[in-house]
């Protein structure tokens, strides 16, 4: 789960990593009064809380010299669309007087299977260009997770990067706090960019990205509470309430795939693509394919107006085929659209399942994935 900027700021604040003082605005009333009540000094920066690249260039970051200007910006920016995303919140912070912008992050390195610190004295908006053109100016330092950050870690970063040991204490302070947050929030990525050197010499986290492992959310109630603010496909959210994973696959095509495992889902999509069929959505059922769950899953996928055909592929030793078929029958009988379902299923009570499919309008049973893909390609589902 990727946090919005103001949520990332709350994480930094909680660990004592310095940020600019600010407030979140989610309506247009009395902007100047709210800014005054929060004790913010002008000029302030108003930042649209949307997760898009090039937010500044798209007009999502604006400066106000006084309350009147702030009100005008909020009236214009809040609830507008930026690159197709609705701006539902603005983060309003004091403008920082800075001298330099650094980059500091910790990510979970899959290859080495440990945290990796990345640091560059050339941070800011163009970090991706820096990474492309002069990768050597971004230091990468793996951390042994059984040892954590040691004194030499910070000394190395300061010395090697050229910022000098004068920053050892300040950078060490931020890095130690960042690493603690990285562990306690089970992060895949925790990034400060830019990490500003303010005019008075202090370090300030001006913007940040936080990506948290979804599997750890059970022990992070404060993060789970933020989930509602995330901008997601409503079908993803609806599917999640049933413990399904709904995956928007592509803008092209009118086919969808459903399976009881991620691997088979991907295999089906690949074979369909090879046969010229583009998949627009996929749904991973996970375990426990009861009729009621199958019905909900089919309903959710078919509620996507793009989807005309659904390929269901279920293979599990203990899956009951009659439950699968009954779920499909219920969903199709409740659907008003003329949509089609191709089912491949293997498991117990297969004969009973086949009889239900046979009697279900709009549904067709196939003997395997390859046969299913052939049927889809030939478009001969309708009976």
């Amino acid at each position: 789960m990727k946090l919005l900027e103001y949520q990332a700021k709350a994480v930094f604040d909680a660990y004592g990593i310095p940020t600019m003082k600010g407030i979140v605005l989610d309506n247009q009333e009395d902007v100047a009064a709210k800014i005054a009540a929060a004790g913010l000094n002008y000029p302030v920066v108003l930042k649209a809380q949307v997760q898009i690249g090039g937010r500044g260039k798209a007009g999502g970051i604006q400066f106000a010299e006084d309350g009147k200007q702030a009100q005008e910006i909020v009236d214009r920016l809040l609830f507008s669309d930026l690159k197709g995303f609705r701006v539902k919140e603005l983060l309003c912070v004091e403008k920082c007087s800075l001298t330099t912008e650094w980059y500091l992050s910790i990510l979970l390195d899959r290859g080495a299977k440990c945290p990796l610190i990345m640091f560059s004295p050339q941070g800011g908006m163009d970090i991706e260009e820096v990474a492309q053109n002069s990768p050597q100016s971004i230091l990468k330092l793996p951390v042994d997770p059984l040892l954590g950050i040691t004194a030499d870690t910070v000394r190395y970063l300061c010395s090697k990067s050229g910022i000098g040991l004068a920053f050892e204490k300040k950078l060490g302070d931020v890095l130690t706090k960042l690493y603690t947050a990285f562990l306690e929030y089970s992060c895949l990525l925790l990034e400060i960019n830019p990490l500003c050197v303010a005019e008075e010499g202090g370090l300030i986290a001006l913007d940040g990205k936080v990506d948290i492992d979804d599997s750890a959310l059970f022990r992070l109630p404060d993060v789970t509470a933020w989930r509602g603010a995330q901008q997601e496909d409503p079908l993803i959210k609806e599917a999640r309430t049933f413990d399904f994973l709904y995956i928007p696959v592509g803008e092209e095509g009118d086919a969808a795939v459903m399976s009881n495992g991620s691997g088979m889902l991907m295999s089906c999509i690949d074979l369909m693509a090879k046969a010229g069929i583009a998949t627009t959505a996929a749904l991973d059922l996970g375990g426990g394919a009861t009729a009621v769950r199958i019905r909900e899953a089919v309903r959710i996928v078919l509620s996507n107006p793009r989807v005309k055909t659904l390929f269901i592929c279920i293979f599990g030793g203990i899956t009951r085929c009659d439950e699968v078929a009954e779920g499909v029958r219920m969903a199709l009988s409740e659907s008003r659209d003329e949509k089609q379902v191709v089912i491949r299923m293997e498991g117990t009570n297969k004969q009973k399942g086949l009889e239900i499919v046979e009697a279900t309008r709009g549904a067709l049973h196939v003997g395997g994935i390859v046969e299913g893909v052939r049927v889809l390609a030939e478009g001969r589902v309708q009976r």
Partner: protein, 289 residues
Amino acid sequence: MSILIDKDTRLIVQGITGREGTFHTEQMLSYGANVVSGVTPGKGGQTVLGVPVFNTVREAMEETGANASVVFVPAKFTKDSAMEAIEANLPVVITIAEHVPVHDMMICYHTARRKGVRLFGPNSFGIISPGKSKAGFMAHSIFTPGPVGMMSRSATNCYETVFMLTTRGIGQSTCIGVGGDMIPGSVFLDLLPDFQNDPETKAIVIIGEIGGNEEERAAAYIKEHVTKPVVVLIAGKNAPRGRSMGHAGAIVNADGTGSAENKEKALKEAGCHIADGTEHVVEILSTIL
């Protein structure tokens, strides 16, 4: 022969008194697996299906001579249970649960490496050496003994392939679920030497998928050290970038790292046979064997 698990494996089931633990203990016993003890803290002294239960892994080892463990506890407790087995120096520890926090696995992974413990999973169906023993929850009826050694990040793609292999009379030496997570306890690279050295294994199947670089690392090893034929399926060629496909580890980064193309290219250069689907894996194997 077979690898990791066989008739002599003396297995602990951690979480044996839970619903899943009890159900799959029964399944494992019925398959002939030598489940010698179970562990559930607070339930020591009980028996489940005739199997004695202990409070700790260490006691279970001391009393029953166990040398492997399969961890059937929910994701949120998997780290504690796996660490207990690792700290007790059990040679083989298999974790099953899906949605284990990746930070938990990071600690288990590094601790296991340092102690020389072979850790598997999470998000894995376990390990089966058909006709000998199984440690996990796979539907064993589709497996049959034979020459194919298999390791898979996906349970469903593995089952599908095994089902078709068995139907065609091609059996399996050992099948390992390495799991679909970002940090698996063991990766393809760790298992290739075992299969290469196992006289029963005549061909190796790798079922990989998008995300990470374990297929590429395997390719580099295969090129230098593996003389047996290797058949590979990489799932997820048409998955969108930047989106996890269900397995936490199955994700192509926005910059394209972890893509199926990279993996297939590396494995092809290493001399592997590249299949485009599970049925194709079976076709290739039937011409090789």
